[in-house]
Amino acid sequence: MSAVLAAVVGATLAGCSSTGGKRAEERAAKSAHGRAAVDTPRWTVAMVTHSGDGDSFWDIVRSGAKQAAVKDNIKLLYAHSDEGQQQSEQVQSYIDQKVDGLIVTLAKPDAMKAVVAKARKAGIPVITVNSGSAESKAFGALSHIGQDETIAGEAVGDELTKRGRKKALCVLHEQGNVGHEQRCDGARKTFKGKLENLYVEGTNMPDVLSAIEAKLQSGDYDAVVTLGAPFADTAVKAKKQAGSDAEINTFDLSKQVAQGLANGDLGFAVDQQPYLQGYQAVDLLWLYKYNADVLGGGQPVLTGPQIVTKDEADELAEYADRGTR
């Protein structure tokens, strides 16, 4: 047994890779091990999002929130559910726990309305992030940090027109997400060509692949817009399998998207800087508790859209690699 083990360890050491792998990752991670930079009391902030399980975008938001929490001496709690009712129950659970601040997303505003009002009544400051710029103020939140989905969609429509596209596909991976609808509607508004919606089951990647592939085979699409970074890679695969020459574009960034932009697999990406959304939300709650500061003057604080093309891809790839872009 020990001989086998020794052989395995020996082989592993002998077969070191000088590129990539865990060690490169550790070298790259120079952050998130900080100590608090302030001496305010240890406040507790809870963040409740509409993320599904294992969502790469929300992972970046969380990593921003975590980093700000470390710096501001805040205990950060996190819960998420893609069902509106579950999300509102989770917020209720945190109200019961009497947290010092709440960060919520309003992808399903009606489901969250009552519970946000309850939080306000209990004297808990609320900041909305990512989705719900239209409702945030009416619900009594301090500020909203995110990207206006309609404006982001319009930017995509403009970019598609600029690139001379005629017939595009908008891939929605969360049925019933109002923000996603707004993106596609915004793009449809400014795009001079024709834009069709395609609904896929975002939590089931093989399904996404086959759905996009089937769609590309069934029509002469020359552009695809996916609404999340992981779906861009899948769309590239689908395009290759379908033998289509459509240009794949996407919302959001990731390491793979940055690489795809650099090697020409992808046309452009629209980034909304998720790291900033998590980081700022925690930081603003800290500012509010410490100094009663409120940012935005009642207007949403925008973190996007930022159109990223081949030119910026290399620099951003490094940041995407460490999970902050």
Binding site: D53, A79, H80, Q97, D110, Q175, G176
Partner: protein
């Protein structure tokens, strides 16, 4: 049925009369109840979270837990009855959303009093149940397949019709329409007593449990349900209307979906068309934790209610305990497995002690 059980449970068994008609001591009777194990499991889960989560024992937290349990429990009751009757329904999760969508869109499009939409929605939900039941008895296909097809069709119809009629993925608000306030009172009101917030779904839930228990234990229809689930052929041979019973059971799940769907609509004013997928499994889980056998013929409505309570406590307890959200589903699954194992173990002991 496993052969280790000391007594036969089908009423159609000749050697001894129906065990529910025999007079035994109260303790004996309690030990023989299907929900006994679930109650022990519920107590264990409750004690566990009381210890690990500081805020779990606050009254406000407990009312949140009760509410979460009731939204599972309202459906778990008719689903439990259906499973005792020997069938499955995988379309219940999305049927809840369908019921809310129909109600909201009908009222809005017809500019009718909200109660009209509520009525139409009841008819639609019962019709979906009837459809499942009639296809089952006519084709003889497994209910698993039929209701899986219904589940997929409803999922598509929820989105398709909503987009077609409202032009969006969620319905338009009906909060300003006539009858909304009175309907909200019935389906989604809440009474705050000090720190505690009692939602009306809890009342619906308990009422459904009481009704289902009465049907199961005190009526002829209850005997038919046990008989149809225990052994359909034998039941048919002694004159039990098996087909009618199963259709009625499916319509029962339709009724449950209607109640819960109206609750969602009247608490949030609008409905998201894509929700409800996956919840059907939670209702089945609640019924199974509560002592319903996957094979039919055995179980109870009270057990399903306790099963829903276990699920609600676990689901919210994890949040109160502030465990890492990444592991949420893992904890949920592990807790449910432990609760069910405890349940099975207690039941075995109870059977052995008879």
């Amino acid at each position: 049925m496993s052969s280790s059980l000391a007594r036969p449970t089908t009423p159609a068994d000749p050697p001894e009369p129906d065990e529910r008609l025999l007079h035994r001591s109260t303790l004996r009777r309690l030990l023989g109840r299907p929900e006994l194990g679930a109650v022990v499991g519920a107590v264990a889960v409750f004690v566990f979270f009381s210890v690990v989560a500081n805020s779990f024992l606050q009254l406000s937290s407990l009312s949140t837990v009760l509410y979460a349990s009731s939204t599972i429990g309202i459906m778990a009751v008719p689903v439990a009855l259906l499973m005792i009757g020997g069938e499955f329904d995988l379309s219940t999760g999305v049927a809840v959303t369908t019921s809310a969508l129909v109600s909201s869109m009908f009222s809005y499009q017809m500019t009718a009093n909200v109660w009209v939409g509520v009525g139409v929605s009841l008819l639609t939900s019962l019709a979906i149940g009837f459809f499942n039941g009639i296809v089952l008895v006519r084709t003889g296909l497994p209910s698993f397949i039929i209701t899986l097809a219904t589940f997929l069709m409803l999922t598509g119809m929820n989105l398709g019709f909503t987009k077609l009629i409202s032009g969006k993925v969620s319905t338009k608000t009906i909060g300003d329409m006539e009858g909304f306030e009175s309907a909200r009172k019935v389906f989604a009101s809440q009474h705050t007593i000090g720190d505690v917030n009692i939602k009306i779904t809890i009342v619906w839930w308990l009422a459904l449990v009481a009704l289902a228990t009465w049907i199961l234990l005190r009526t002829r229809a209850g005997n038919w349900i046990f008989a149809a689930g225990g052994n359909a052929h034998a039941a048919r041979a002694v004159g039990v209307p098996v087909a009618r019973t199963k259709i009625a059971l499916y319509m029962g799940t339709g009724f449950g979906a209607w109640v819960l769907g109206q609750h969602l609509l009247f608490s949030f004013d609008t409905v998201q068309s894509g929700e409800g997928v996956g919840n059907e499994l939670l209702y089945i889980i609640a019924a199974v934790i509560g002592g319903c056998l996957m094979t039919g013929g055995y179980g109870s409505a009270i057990g399903a209610a306790v099963g829903a309570l276990i699920f609600g406590m676990t689901n919210k307890g994890i949040v109160y305990a502030q465990w890492d959200a990444d592991w949420f589903k893992f904890f949920l699954g592990a807790m449910l497995l432990l609760a069910t194992l405890l349940n099975a173990w207690v039941r075995k002991r109870a059977e052995a002690s008879k």
